[in-house]
């Protein structure tokens, strides 16, 4: 078990990142920090894919390089996922700007109370 953790520590880091991200999204009152939590959560998944493609001692996926290649497909997938993540962050920050302009606060609990006084 310890041996497994020592050689596959990046999977441990993946789930650590997922946990930190999820906790930030749930536990943090600040909306911007919730969005940062969302980004950390996604980063955990990016790491998961990249780690899965990694091969000890393999060469980059170029035709002229020697035989065992690192799998290029997960990299391409994650490139797409990063683009998706960036656009999500942009939309989220845009919404936060509007919320701040309307309510003058980014505190989720204050917003909750304000909404219930409406």
């Amino acid at each position: 078990m310890i041996d497994l953790l020592a050689t596959r520590y990046y999977y441990l880091v993946t789930f650590l990142l997922l946990g930190v991200g999820a906790y930030m999204m749930i536990g943090n009152r600040n909306l911007v920090k919730k969005v940062i939590g969302m980004n950390i959560f996604q980063t955990g998944i990016f790491l998961f894919f990249i780690a899965a493609a990694y091969l000890e001692g393999a060469s980059p996926p170029v035709l002229t390089a020697e035989a065992p290649h690192v799998s290029p497909l997960p990299h391409v997938l994650i490139l797409t996922a990063i683009v998706v993540g960036v656009s999500l962050t942009a939309v989220a920050l845009g919404l936060i700007v509007r919320i701040y302009a309307d309510y003058g606060t980014l505190d989720a609990e204050v917003l909750w109370e304000v909404r219930h006084d409406d």
Partner: protein, 456 residues
């Protein structure tokens, strides 16, 4: 990879989007960003329907999600911005978990094509931990997108705070196509054999669905805002679809597809009807629907027909879907589910009958209070408290206090409801009844697809 199932979804997306567009032309939002997001949403949904590749499915899921977040926020209020942000955060977690599941499936098999996955997963073994983990993450991720009970928290506020046309579009299509994606991934990629080899997975699917049916219905009964009530009703109806899909039974599967289409049509037009009512009379809460038939006969009539169709009064579309699902549950011998389905029909009746009774058999509370000068009922306090629609409510009071007024045409705010808006709602109400009669032929058309889906 177009079969009867994805073809159905494409037609549904196209028809619903067209219907909502003709409504939105008059009711707004009319801004260019709205139309841009609308087109993006339709593109994403169509992509989800036609794709045969897991990662493409993820990308289209996110495109659909992004467009939906933007559309929810297209109302300029702070409330909708908060609802959209909440939708965005929870929806992103859902899509990310789905992506994680894809990662597991890819590591286990080395492929992303759904048809290829079916054979590869069979080779790896259905009880391999990687395959089971992939299934769990994919299903939980899609549950968030479909809004199954404990993961539904983004949905009611998003539907309730969005503009009416957007609520209709999203409620009719986004969760529906996500549920289609769930069926597609579970049956085409993991196949029915996976559910057979992992009975716990099928049981958990069914249990989650049953909890969703009961909890969604109970929460719907507790709502005072009509659009929130409709939103919680969706949680229950999608529970029904997932329950049918978990049975691995042809009849139930046909029921799931029929109910998926029927729910999309009926719930979408219920939101449009609620929009017509709100535009004409300003009524947005259950208590404000008192005596609606006097103020707005066509709107109340269409709403009533759609509500009864949703409950499942024969021969409507809602009845046939539930009938197939219940029949499939009986065939599979899962009696718990039969009980839940019957109970859900009663609960659906509970929250829709309440509205229908108020619309057709009660005197309008606002007008009464205005004439007598006292608060006629405890509902009055709510009506007054809802200050945002004050202008529209005034119009109602004027029209109601004049005893000669007949129908909603004389109220000053009514002219904002155009003929086109009425036409869309009435046509869909008629369709909800008429299509119920055409289901048997549709079921025959669907049967080869379902057979192929269930026996890989």
């Amino acid at each position: 990879m177009i079969d009867g199932l994805s073809g159905t979804m494409i037609v549904l997306v196209a028809v619903s989007a067209l219907g909502v567009l003709s409504y939105a032309r008059a009711a707004g939002p009319r801004s260019n960003p709205f139309y841009a997001a609308y087109l993006l949403l339709v593109a994403g949904l169509t992509g989800m329907s036609v794709t045969g590749d897991l990662f493409n499915l993820y990308v289209f899921l996110e495109i659909t999600g992004l467009a939906a977040y933007v559309l929810v926020a297209s109302d300029d209020s702070g409330r909708s911005a908060i609802a959209a942000l909440r939708y965005l955060l929870i929806g992103t977690v859902g899509a990310s978990l789905f992506l994680l599941g894809i990662g597991y499936a890819y590591i286990a098999t080395g492929t992303l094509n759904m048809g290829d996955l079916a054979t590869q997963i069979a080779e790896v073994g259905y009880t391999a931990t990687l395959v089971q983990a992939a299934f769990a993450f994919v299903v939980v991720g899609l549950f968030i997108k479909v809004a199954i009970f404990p993961l539904h928290t983004w949905q009611p506020e998003a539907y309730a705070s969005a503009p009416d046309s957007v609520s209709a579009l999203i409620s009719a299509l986004v969760s529906t196509v996500s549920a289609y994606a769930l069926v597609r991934v579970v049956y085409t990629a993991f196949t029915a054999d996976f559910l057979e080899a992992n009975p716990l997975a099928a049981d958990l699917l069914g249990a989650a669905a049953a909890v969703s049916i009961v909890a969604g219905s109970l929460l719907a009964v507790a709502q005072s805002e009509v659009k929130r009530m409709l939103a919680y009703s969706s949680v229950a109806q999608f529970g029904l679809v997932v329950a049918a899909a978990s049975l691995v039974n042809e009849t139930a599967m046909i029921g799931a597809v029929v109910h998926l289409v029927g729910h999309a049509l009926m719930k979408g037009s219920l939101f449009l009807a609620a929009g017509v009512v709100a535009t004409a009379t300003g009524a947005r809460t259950v208590s404000e629907y008192d005596g609606l038939v006097d103020r707005l006969p066509v709107g109340a009539g269409a709403f009533g027909v759609l509500a009864l169709a949703m409950v499942g009064v024969p021969p409507t579309l809602g009845f046939v879907g539930k009938w197939y699902i219940a029949l499939g549950a009986v065939e599979s011998g899962s009696w718990v589910l039969v009980v839940v389905i019957v109970a859900s029909t009663l609960l659906t009746l509970a929250y829709f009958a309440r509205l229908v009774e108020r619309m057709f058999f009660r005197d309008p509370a606002t007008a009464l209070a205005d004439e007598v000068g006292v608060a006629a009922s405890e509902d009055e306090a709510e009506v007054v408290a809802d200050g945002s629609d004050l202008g529209a409510t005034d119009g109602v009071v004027t029209s109601g206090s004049d005893p000669a007024t007949d129908g909603g045409d004389d109220a000053p705010s009514t002219d904002r409801v155009t003929f086109g808006m009425y036409a869309v709602v009435v046509v869909t109400a008629v369709l909800a009844v008429a299509l119920g009669l055409a289901v048997f032929e549709y079921a025959e058309f669907l049967e080869p697809t379902i057979t192929r889906l269930l026996t890989p």
